[in-house]
Amino acid sequence: MPALLIKNGRVVDPASGLDGVADVWIEDGAVRGVAQNIAVPEASAVFDATGLVVAPGFIDMHVHLREPGFEHAETIETGSRAAAAGGFTTICPMPNTAPVNDSATVTSYIVGKAREHAIVNVLPIGAITKGSQGEQLAEIGSMREAGAVAISDDGRPVMNARVMRRAMEFARSFGMPVVNHCEDLDLSAGGDMHEGMESVRLGLRGIPGCSEDVMVARDILLAEVTGARYHVAHISSRHAVEMVAFAKARGLTVTAEATPHHLALADSEMPPYDSNYKMKPPLRSTCDVSAVLEGVVNGAIDAIATDHAPHPGSEKMQEFENCPFGIIGLETALGVALEKLFHSGKIGLPRLVELFTTGPARILGIKRGTLAPGAPGDVTIFSLDREWTYDVNKSMSKSRNSPFHGKSFRGGPVATVVAGHIAWQS
């Protein structure tokens, strides 16, 4: 296999403490070395990254690829293309497909499909319970063997605390993290947006912040009892962020991810009844948004994940309360993160890269997210200052449900390298 040489970029690899101009040499699908002025072997492909940032391949540990079962909204192939266009080299699809990924059979199907059609790495997340019904544990061990990297009943949180406790204990046997979509379904029932001034004004039923908080609190207590690795998906409320910080201070292996939209948008920024702003957890108050930003800065939050959730136009073009929850986000994640975190001066570049690389890699316990010699040859090359405007109609995703359509960004993905191949280039 020919080598790829990425020349003259600003190489930022938090895992190795690297931040400086260098070349990255990839051969046989793996990183061979990072150094200045690496000599180019004759047959090498060269990518000139002058003026660009060269980082380990980004990992999105929370996406929905809709296959099997909802291929009209997205497929493993189209989702992987959107991922590559967003600078992601590894994505973790949630198990809420049809059938639910609750067995080694479904996990193997996804892994097989990905091997054939995906242009980035696909590491599935298995269900916690059978059919994500919240009752009986799924085949967690065999899903692990088939390639699942975590378990979650995303979208259908485990309401029964005893089941959650058993899941945490069982997952610990395999060293798998338990990822929870924290939402007390009784408290949130019927809600369509964050409960607050805006929901009252618009006459929409609210999803209170406390519906997230009570489940985060419960799970942290269970994580302490069980010693499990526990991860809060798409954290969105101030109290939840504070509780994760509290759990970390107690020495628990509790982690959290935030989505770009929860960093960028508050409920008050939704154009009235625009379903491209409807997701779970909902866009919350400006006070919650600043808490999520603070959590990213102070380390309570470990990773950025998109919760890329495609829905076809026909499903989103309905009365607000009838529309499904979720927005796509792979292609805009970096642009949003740069604006809200880096250009705003909140964090430096190494920390930003961490949130997309070592952050998720540590949570999942996978050997990715670094450019150390021998690591997978996955690289994300991005710009810090190129101006571009997101046109959702040109998205690689099959769906168009994005609140960022028409938004201008400063900096974003330029090329995505997977196992030494350029999978996407702007």
């Binding site: 029932a189 001034m197 004004r201 006459g203 039923r205 073009m317």
Partner: protein
């Protein structure tokens, strides 16, 4: 965007005043009680009701006909909605028949706002979910003004299921624009604290006596059991603590008026003796509904018409 009427929140006070003034022209007076006009001759409006309604639908229909317009009424049960057609498709189909306006009631908050983004035909909101009911607030204001009062500085108590009331929201927006003193009252589970910031001049109380003390106007709201997803209060206790009874009226100003958007639930939120008392203007509200809706239809269908 076509100039329909989606809500009170976005209207300017002078626009509201123009509608209220024009409605006076359409009120029946003296011997020649009901007059027909041909201001909207040749125009067609579609009444599209996705939710049960007797008074609002009839009121709009009569208003359209008194102005000489043709009115077609469609209820959701009878339409293709029952066959699974989406709301956008239904509206596009209707719009293709070129009505001059669509009057719409829908159980989903924001349904007309969502549709207006895709449609060139102006939409008049006849009540959307738990959001707004603009013509109700206009007819309520017309009714208060008919009693000789000014809206400025008036103390108005709105009592009942505020959380789920589109009537309350529209009235709050309207009264606030005129500088009225608005007291919202109900059990805390139906009175979100955020309402205190929804508009200027609004205060909240869970105490009915406090709400009614010195009130010039008492607006009772229907307790909407169909919008209750769970019991937000014990139904058996509602009338005891939030039902309007004759003894309450002694706390209010002597010339207080009692309003209700209907349909009333006697013995649930309002005692029969109050509904039938001298203080009640409930039927005047219904009557004013036609005049106000005539003014709204005229404004939407021929915005530059002068009074004749």
């Amino acid at each position: 965007m076509p100039q329909g009427l989606l809500g009170i929140e976005g209207l300017e006070r002078k626009e509201i005043q123009a509608i209220l003034d024009r409605a006076r022209d359409f009120q029946p007076r003296g011997e020649h009680a009901i007059r027909k006009y041909d201001l909207l001759r040749g125009r067609m409006v579609v009444n599209l009701f996705f939710e049960a309604s007797t008074r609002t639908r009839t009121s709009f229909e009569i208003a359209a006909k008194r102005l000489g317009a043709d009115a077609v009424s469609i209820t959701a049960q009878a339409s293709s909605v029952a066959k699974g057609e989406s709301l956008v498709d239904t509206l596009n189909t209707l719009a293709a028949m070129h009505p001059d306006a669509i009057i719409m009631r829908h159980a989903a908050s924001g349904a007309p706002h969502f549709l207006q983004r895709y449609l060139d035909t102006p939409i008049i909101n006849a009540g959307d979910g738990t959001h707004e009911h603009p013509t109700q607030a206009l007819l309520d204001a017309r009714t208060i003004l008919d009693r000789g009062a000014r809206l400025e500085g008036l103390r108005v108590a709105i009592i009942g299921d505020i959380a789920h009331s589109r009537v309350a929201r529209s009235n709050v927006y309207l009264l606030s624009k005129y500088g009225a003193d608005i007291v919202l009252c109900g059990p805390a589970s139906l009175l979100p604290r955020e309402l205190a910031q929804i508009a200027g001049g609004v205060t909240l109380t869970t105490d009915m006596d406090e709400a009614i003390r010195d009130a010039d106007v008492i607006m009772m709201l229907r307790v909407q059991l169909e919008r209750q997803h769970e019991a937000a209060f014990p139904a058996s206790e509602y009338f005891q603590f939030y039902g309007l009874r004759l003894e309450h009226l002694r706390l209010a100003k002597p010339e207080v008026i009692v309003m209700h958007p209907g349909p009333i639930n006697r013995g649930r939120e309002i005692a029969s003796e109050v509904a039938d008392s001298q203080r009640s203007v409930i039927l005047t509200q219904v009557e004013n509904g036609i005049a106000v809706r005539m003014a709204v239809l005229e404004r939407v269908l021929c915005p530059h018409a002068e009074s004749n």
